[in-house]
Symmetry: D2
Subunit: 255 residues, 4 copies
């Protein structure tokens, strides 16, 4: 696999990371000189390029976490730590059909799209046109053809049926439980992401009456460890909280 | 999708979970009575079965996290919180070819196998025959046909070339860096899981000289939140530490 | 300072700790033999005694944390990690007059008593006779003469006035805010310990209307690090949650 | 107790805190107007003052934690969460004689000084004249008469004998174990604060050979909880690591 025009590349330079789209004839400027994309096109991923001033730039194919970290800068809610856990807890596999609302920046949309692969589908609902535009642009940038965006309010209506997993990241998930329940196949996992305790409470209270199993609630924390030749230690700064992750499953009571 | 003989099912009963293989004519006994598998065969996942004493048993298709939680009971090292993060950080996608050592109980093997799907492959190395047997049995139980087990020592030799990602969970990963480096495609992510600081240190010191990029080191913590009608609070007990996750990438210095 | 009859001693033996009262003629039995108290009486603290079978027993004067750890075994709510933070955040000094409710096992009572010293006083309220008895016995065991116990309900009445700090560890602290406010000197810190989010909410909502400043809410977590010659790592098990600590101060609005 | 000239006061204004020395004739300026100190002198602590523009300013007597938080701004290493735990774990009581090195900004010096009270003493060693000056100024500002500063290197010599507790916050504590051991009374607790794992290791390895008991190592984490009328949640940002706290005791092996 070699670097081709149109590819999105992760450039790593002295601990800093940049997500760029490689274009023939283009250049990437850093504070230590620039690299010409033409010099890396055709080379394998993992190449160490050099700027005109001699600084090393590592060129990698971005992972899902790389994409989420860079896209999320401004509107990020779901971090890789949460996205990885969500995918592994919710039964999402290559080929799955997954429902998501809201699309936000498209960061989780991309993670879901990559996890289900070309034979799966992500249905992503978003009320706000401006977010939808951003999410769509981000998804397209990575050439992901398995995402279907809907401008719409998941609290009122979901078109799909029998989805294999559903994910809600909206302020009032309790109002969407009914419509989402209808869209899910029996036994499917619904994941809900909320930042506050009041939202946990209200969501879980409503859930009981809506055909879902008892919820499991988790919070994932991540600590970075700093390593140098002299010393190893947890980083001074850390993100203290992003949100709580609630998992439940659609049950078939009256079958 | 309905429940069929041979399927592995997750039974949930009053907060307890059981992973069982559904067999025609068989029964599952609990302290509140039993259910006959014949009564659930042919029904959809998500069904609420009842024991002969009238207690409810929820029948779900297990997710990757369900499988890891139940399999790992005795030898668990990698938890779902870590596995999800590893997959999303290491560029593993449907179709990827992934190297793993050691196989352990096969818990992470299953997680990787499910993430890469039928078009991908997991190459799993294990030195100890007794672990290999357990891992193989566990993988077979879930009908995963994309895992190739090797009885062998990854520190001395890896047969594959150009794998898309590699994962090491062995006590002395620094001794395997050379062989694993050869097996990886340039730019691929190597993930190393170690429980102690001394292992971080020794691994990272060796890494620099072995054609890998600067490592990123993380620790993932998970807190369970207890919810009842009366109150919401973090659980009293938590797992304080499983291990540290080191990520690095193969670089191509002399291309 | 030497070990005298009547002293409470901390015996440490192979990682295990015991809190014992030294009595002339008495013995302390372990699974590796016994020590005679007569053999350590008159010796300095820090002495390494030996059982009749030759095992080493270290004899220390217990610290406040040692006492709390051993007393709290059954009914512990406030841990040393919380007690230390509470004392340093609430303006408690040698000589302070401190109000506490409820007494519980007397574990925090002892910590407060030791922090304010012989020239200070702790007023400890407890509704339940059986707890009061335990608390009183524990406090007496350490010869602390500066604690005044009240059997009474702090929600209805507090006899003292102008206390320098107050501490509440009762299920419904919001019901005690009025009586405690009256008992505090202006500017004094009130600390409230609650395990659940619902209690935070209800307490803070009532606080605003009761002459207290905006609350600060914290949660203290403690990780133990295991060290051996081979490796250093966080302990596998940890206490995930004890409670939240709310700090506020009495304000004088209409002075 | 009323506010007097020369007192250090904590002013709280809309969530912001300021530590000021009250001076007759002086003023305190904020972005919402100023207050005249003459208007609060003679009033009780806990008073709500008003700026000339009508904004409320709460006037409190600072607690130990308030002082540490404000002093530590630039050079802070020891936080209140750590200081409280250290005091309660190390047997420090009113009247104790405590050894400390280095003085740093004097932040922990003040915490120790306040905990031991007027009948106790803190011996604070500092190699660097510039730090000593800062520490001395900070201690004097709070009128604490029980601190004796030494300009000196605790690794080479400690003048005191039989101190009740000792605290080390220097980069190479292993080099000070011998001198500090001589200065401590048998059974006394030595607390060592280090940020990195390498320092834990080297300290603990040396400790064994130096007449100290097996160490206990802890890390204290603190999460702030944000409360508003709408929602309660952990704060987004948190301090991920300050340091590890090692506790050990001087033992008398050859008594």
């Amino acid at each position: 696999m070699s670097i081709e025009p149109g590819d999105v590349a992760l450039l790593v330079m002295g601990g800093k990371k940049f997500l760029v789209t490689v274009k023939g004839g283009g250049t990437f400027h850093t504070h230590k000189g620039y690299i010409r994309y033409d010099d890396i096109i055709g080379k394998p991923w993992g190449t160490v390029a050099k700027t005109n001033m001699g600084s090393e730039v590592l060129v990698f194919k971005p992972t899902t976490a790389d994409i989420m970290e860079k896209l999320g800068r401004r509107t990020q809610i779901i971090y890789p730590k949460d996205a990885g856990f969500i995918i592994i807890k919710s039964g999402i596999l290559p080929g799955s059909r997954v429902l998501e609302a809201g699309s936000g920046s498209g960061s989780l949309t991309i993670a879901l799209s990559r996890a289900v692969g070309p034979r799966g589908t992500v249905y992503s609902y978003e009320k706000e046109e401006r977010f939808l535009k951003v999410a769509r642009r981000n998804v397209n940038r990575f050439g992901l053809g398995n995402v279907i965006f809907h401008r719409g309010d998941v609290r009122h209506r979901v078109d799909e049926r029998d989805v294999d997993a559903a994910f809600l990241d909206i302020p009032d998930p309790w109002n969407a439980l009914k419509a989402v329940h209808e869209a899910m196949r029996p036994g499917a996992v619904l994941t809900i992401f909320v930042p506050s305790y009041e939202q946990i409470r209200r969501t879980c209270m409503t859930m009981k009456k809506s055909g879902f199993s008892d919820p499991e609630i988790h919070e994932i924390l991540i600590r970075q460890i700093e390593y140098s030749e002299e010393r190893t230690r947890p980083a001074t700064r850390m993100v203290g909280h992003t949100g709580f992750v609630i998992f439940t499953r659609k049950i078939l009571t009256d079958y």
